[in-house]
């Protein structure tokens, strides 16, 4: 075991793992965060706490991790390099570890032009791969960037993201390889809707031997309605929602679309589970955390292992 992470233990024991996303509130409303967290309690192995996702100002992911941990959750701290330079990132890593956080997901982050602070400076002092390496060097070598030794090195279980659906398609897997080389222990992918493309990506990852050294979680997002499917297909860069899926949603009466979306999510989970090298799923039920238990129930994943 490299760390004290519960997620690492679940994976090391060979269990199919489940993580879910929990977005902190747009404000200091602790009760709202706890209400979201309550839906996920006991039905997932770890909770990803997003870091000002889509560049919208929210409660800090470090603070929200601590609050969720206080409820009994195993948090995964998402950290983007968009808003903080290496001084702040490394300092927050120390602080988060001090608060009991044992998992970190290293991201670059959406460009600030998508959020509600479009005038902000984009820091991007490091990129996601450099952040992965930074966390690894802290854990394995006890050093920060520049080589200085630190007191009480934080020992994080290190995650990174991969988007098999972005371009250039063929070279995506090479970037995954760079993340693994930099020190990623686990990978959470962009939402999977196009299973053909995802299967192709996983085949490439297997061919490169990557699935032997990194645990890959397939990203799953239940679609609430056909409008959301269309929005993701047309407006969200790097998202691949096949036309037949949109048609399937559109072919269902409006009131039955949420159920259809959940059905699609469950089918997707079942199909990715069949793929060699998939270690778990990462559920991103955007502002729909309440439905996570029933999705997992239907997918036969509601019982989480004791480790």
């Amino acid at each position: 075991m490299k760390t004290e992470s519960r997620l690492e233990k679940v994976l090391a024991a060979g269990h199919f793992a489940v993580t879910a996303e929990c977005g902190p509130p747009k404000g200091a409303d602790v009760a709202a965060l706890q209400a979201k967290g309550k839906h996920l309690l006991g039905c997932v192995d770890a909770v990803n706490v997003t870091d000002n996702q889509t560049a919208i100002v929210r409660m800090s992911s470090v603070a929200a991790c601590a609050i969720l941990k206080g409820m009994g959750h195993e948090p995964v701290l998402q950290m983007v390099t968009r808003d903080r330079n290496r001084i702040a990132l490394q300092s927050d890593l120390f602080g988060a570890y001090g608060l009991g956080v044992r998992n970190v997901l290293c991201l670059t982050g959406d460009h600030q032009c998508f959020g509600n602070q479009k005038e902000a400076v984009g820091v991007f002092d490091l990129d996601s791969i450099q952040l992965v390496k930074t966390v690894r060097d802290m854990r394995d070598n006890g050093k920060i960037i520049g080589g200085e030794e630190i007191q009480g090195p934080p020992k994080f279980f290190i995650g990174a993201a991969a988007n098999p659906f972005a371009d250039p398609h063929w070279w995506r897997v090479v970037r995954l390889g760079k993340k693994v080389e930099a020190g990623a222990d686990f990978i959470q992918t962009q939402c999977v809707f196009n299973l053909d493309r995802f299967g192709e990506f996983m085949g490439q990852a297997r061919d490169m031997g990557l699935t032997e050294s990194v645990k890959i979680f397939a990203g799953i997002t239940p679609i609430k309605n056909v409008g959301m499917a269309r929005y993701m297909a047309n407006k969200v860069a790097g998202m691949d929602v096949p036309e037949e899926l949109i048609k399937r949603m559109a072919g269902v009466p409006k009131e039955k679309q949420p159920a259809e979306g959940i059905k699609i999510a469950v089918e997707t989970i079942q199909q990715v589970r069949e793929m060699e090298g998939i270690a778990g799923i990462h559920l991103m039920a955007i502002e729909w955390e309440a439905r996570v238990p029933e999705i997992l129930e239907a997918a036969g994943l509601s019982k989480r292992p004791e480790v």
Binding site: G122, D127, S128, I129, D167, P168, W171, K178, Q190
Partner: protein, 222 residues
Amino acid sequence: MVVGERKPFDEIKKTLEGHKKVLVLGCGGCVTVCLTGGHDAVQVLSSQLRMARDNEGSPLEIIEKTVERQCDPEYVEEVAALIPEVDAVLSMACGAGVQFMAERYTTTPLYPALNTTFVGGSVKEGYYVERCQTCGECKLAYTGGICPIARCSKSLLNGPCGGSTKGKCEIDPEVPCGWQLIVDRLEALGQMDRYEEINMACDWRTNRDGGPRKMIREDFQR
């Protein structure tokens, strides 16, 4: 070259409020090439200002002049005789030129007429694009001659983010993804092994983060 864009006319006019006689000073360097701050631009802006001020009933007297380069003390000196005649200077140079003027003529207000926008070039007449962010440590040898700092919206050094779609950047479907361009070029050059290497965190001291930069040719300092 340094590309500059003229400020909105109303903003320029407002900075000159209260002044009665000004020098509108063009620059014969980069901003002449990009058509915003040279001799012709001086004439156009001066005419606009005169007309606007006449219409307001507070005429503005203008001396028009363009020097070779405002970022060079030798040429800045050429206007020394004109400065006492005016109560302000409107410089149509880039930010460097404006400051060289301000450093030389300390008792006369210096105002910029341009927004200095980027270091780039013209892809065709009147169409300018950014190519360099002057990071101070050129990486082009490793990226197929295409700059990840200037061309990637997040200045990523290790490949395209998850927002790269069909060759375009996530910020705007009109903006090419810098890393798609780099990958295409490295592939064509048979140099994709360069892409596979992990690029370490930048040393930004060579950029602005090391404080104002300078470059000294010691052999010229004697």
